[in-house]
């Protein structure tokens, strides 16, 4: 029997993987992907909770799913802006390594 | 000097492009329909239909050696064709004619006469240059073989294609 706890565990491990990616990798684009992984781990928890809180009408709690919808929308916008910044940065510096981008001004 | 091409100004109907696209579709559909109805003349269906009957007399096909009315090989192995041949497809080994022979006066005949049909370009130079009118370009054009050796026409093959040529100059028969 799969319980809410199992889903939360998967979500937690996924979040930790994303967190490790942000901590360990120096390539900006990989860091960015790890951020997406963390966002999606949060989404999994939200959907699992939504399915767990079934109301008196026998329907899941759609507030959480609407929240996930917002997260996905905003994440898509974030990716577009983030990648545009990355391209601008690459044009200026020819690198995507965070170690080479330490100054605030260039 | 750079030439500036002035582009035509399009009106709104042309700028919409849709009428032009529909007109193009109509043209292609007309062709499609006509072919289905059998109104279009299509190209000849080669292996079933052939040019054979319709080939003009000046057609330059595979070169061939001819015999005269007496059955003598007209070639006297002068090797002019071998020298003129642009792709060097012809190879002749001349041989003496025995003095007891009826045509001993001719002196030479081709012991071997090979034309490599892989190299031959059907230019007709050999026919032009031949002083004896012994080599002619015939109407064969489908020459095939599985090996390179198959594609070399030997003397027997060339004579077989050529056959007997009547009514040309017969200078060797009159004498002797």
């Amino acid at each position: 029997m799969i319980t809410l706890g199992d889903y939360l565990m998967v979500s937690g491990i996924l979040f930790a993987i994303g967190f490790a990616g942000v901590m360990l990798r120096r390539n900006l684009i990989i860091i960015f992907m790890s951020l997406e992984l963390m966002l999606n781990a949060a989404n999994l928890s939200l959907v699992a909770f939504s399915r767990f809180r079934v109301g008196p009408t026998g329907l899941p709690d759609y507030n959480a799913q609407v929240f996930v919808f917002f997260i996905i929308t905003v994440a898509a916008a974030e990716v577009a802006v983030g990648l545009a910044i990355l391209v601008a940065l690459y044009r200026a510096r020819q690198t995507t390594d965070v170690k080479d981008i330490t100054s605030l001004k260039f | 000097m750079a030439i500036t091409v002035s582009r035509p100004k399009l009106n709104w109907r042309e700028r919409l492009y849709l009428p032009a696209i529909v007109a193009g579709l109509a043209i292609t559909f007309k062709h499609f329909k006509n072919l289905l109805l059998g109104r279009t003349k299509v190209t000849m269906q080669y292996p079933e239909q052939k040019w054979d009957g319709n080939l003009p007399d000046y057609y330059r096909g595979a070169p061939a050696l001819v015999r005269d009315e007496d059955g003598r090989v007209r070639c006297v192995a002068c090797q002019l064709c071998e020298f003129i041949c642009p792709p060097r497809a012809i190879k002749i080994i001349p041989g003496e004619i025995d003095s007891t022979d009826r045509f001993a006066k001719v002196e030479k005949y081709p012991e071997a006469f090979d034309i490599d049909m892989i190299r031959c370009i059907f230019c007709g130079m050999c026919e032009e240059v031949c002083p004896e009118q012994a080599i002619f370009l015939r109407k064969d054009y489908a020459i095939t073989g599985f090996t390179r050796a198959d594609m070399v026409h030997h003397k027997e093959k060339l004579l077989e294609i050529g056959g007997v040529m009547h009514g040309v100059v017969l200078k060797w028969n009159k004498k002797k």
């Binding site: - | 696209i21 193009g24 579709l25 043209i27 292609t28 559909f29 062709h31 499609f32 006509n34 072919l35 289905l36 279009t40 003349k41 299509v42 190209t43 269906q45």
Partner: protein
């Protein structure tokens, strides 16, 4: 037999039947039809050597491709080089799962999975089709395939917008995203390409026809772009990119790309038929609940309609020249995107008067 096992067995039968009896032969004969149609348009006869009228040509082609040398360039990234052709075929075939290809046969609905996110499923899976091309172009490690891959990723992203927006008018009228409900709505209210049929006196239905046709045109053109068919086949432009993303591919891997393109075309046509041409419905023919013979006729009607749309695809391919890349982008972003948006508002304004 329990309902669950009955469901599983009928689903498997439907998957096997639709895939191996209809889609795959249709794909190989679409290639044959393409050659015949192009030949007819160019006043030629096309393949006519293998079998009567060349009907066995696809089989000969298959043997030829199977027996060709399967060449992998040394500089290629081998794993992704092998993976990419599979990725190119899969999405196109998976998409057919949600399309209703018939009414019912012996009481079993003729759709593999009637999910409530039907059209979103189609878009989601179709958008995965770009990976096969992008990865193939990248893994070949060669200039022209790489350019083809880059082009295709930008092109697919751009045209997915107008693809998604163009069908919203249809679902404004239907009220949910199930493709079976789209077909049912069209049976009751007339096909979306001509909603006035059967309701001749209603002026609003006549008014609705204009935005529906605009919607159909935008959707069809976006499908052309998504399946890399000719006016938009820039990822594989032979003349500029030497074959584009599949330049380095040979043998069965190349033919997988080739089949993937045609499978995508068939599923795209199936979606067009379902959304705008009434799916399996033909006026005057009852559905499968009146006898199994009508169920079979419904399926035949559906695939006949698909075949007509595929002919249209080929017809356009052999008529129009290829776009330039900047023209393609301008057309997608500055033209179809806006038309589809305005179209949604127009239909939304008409909808209250229809119901």
């Amino acid at each position: 037999m329990t309902p669950e096992s009955f469901l599983i067995i009928t689903s498997l039968l439907k998957i096997v039947g639709i895939l191996f009896i209809v889609i795959l032969p249709m794909v190989s004969y679409a290639v044959y039809a393409e050659r015949k149609v192009s030949a007819a348009i160019q006043d030629r006869l096309g393949p006519n050597r293998v079998g009567p009228a060349g009907l066995l040509q696809p089989i000969a082609d298959m043997f030829k491709l199977l027996l060709k040398e399967d060449f992998t360039p040394r500089a290629a990234n081998t794993f992704y080089y092998w993976l990419a052709p599979c990725l190119a075929v899969m999405p196109a075939i998976i998409t057919i799962a949600v399309v209703p290809f018939g009414s019912t046969l012996f009481g079993v609905p003729m759709v593999i999975a009637d999910v409530n996110v039907g059209i979103l499923f189609v878009f989601a899976i179709a958008s995965l089709g770009v990976y096969g091309i992008v990865i193939g172009g990248w893994a070949s490690n060669s200039k022209y395939p790489f350019l083809g891959g880059i082009r295709s990723s930008a092109q697919m992203l751009s045209y997915e917008l107008s693809l998604g927006l163009a069908v919203i008018p249809v679902f404004l009228l239907v009220g949910n995203l199930r493709l079976t409900s789209v077909v049912r709505y069209q049976i009751e209210h007339g096909w979306f390409i001509a909603p006035f049929i059967g309701d001749w006196t209603n002026p609003w239905k006549w008014l609705l026809t204009i935005p529906m046709i605009v919607s159909f045109i935008v959707f069809t053109i976006a499908i052309f772009a998504e399946t890399n068919r000719l006016p938009f086949d820039l990822p594989e432009a032979e003349q500029e990119l030497a074959g584009g993303y599949n330049t380095e591919y040979s043998s069965m891997k190349f033919s997988l790309y080739f089949l993937g393109e045609y499978a995508a075309m068939i599923t795209g046509s199936a979606v067009i038929v379902t959304l705008f041409f009434g799916g399996w419905h033909l006026p005057g023919i009852p559905d499968g609940s009146h006898g199994w013979i009508f169920g079979l006729i419904n399926i035949a009607v559906f695939f006949a309609k698909v075949a007509i749309i595929i002919f249209f695809f080929m017809w356009v391919r052999w008529t129009l020249p290829r776009f330039r890349y900047d023209q393609l982008m301008r057309l997608g972003w500055l033209f179809f995107f806006e038309i589809a948006l305005v179209n949604i508002f127009v239909v939304a304004a008409i909808v209250p008067f229809i119901q």
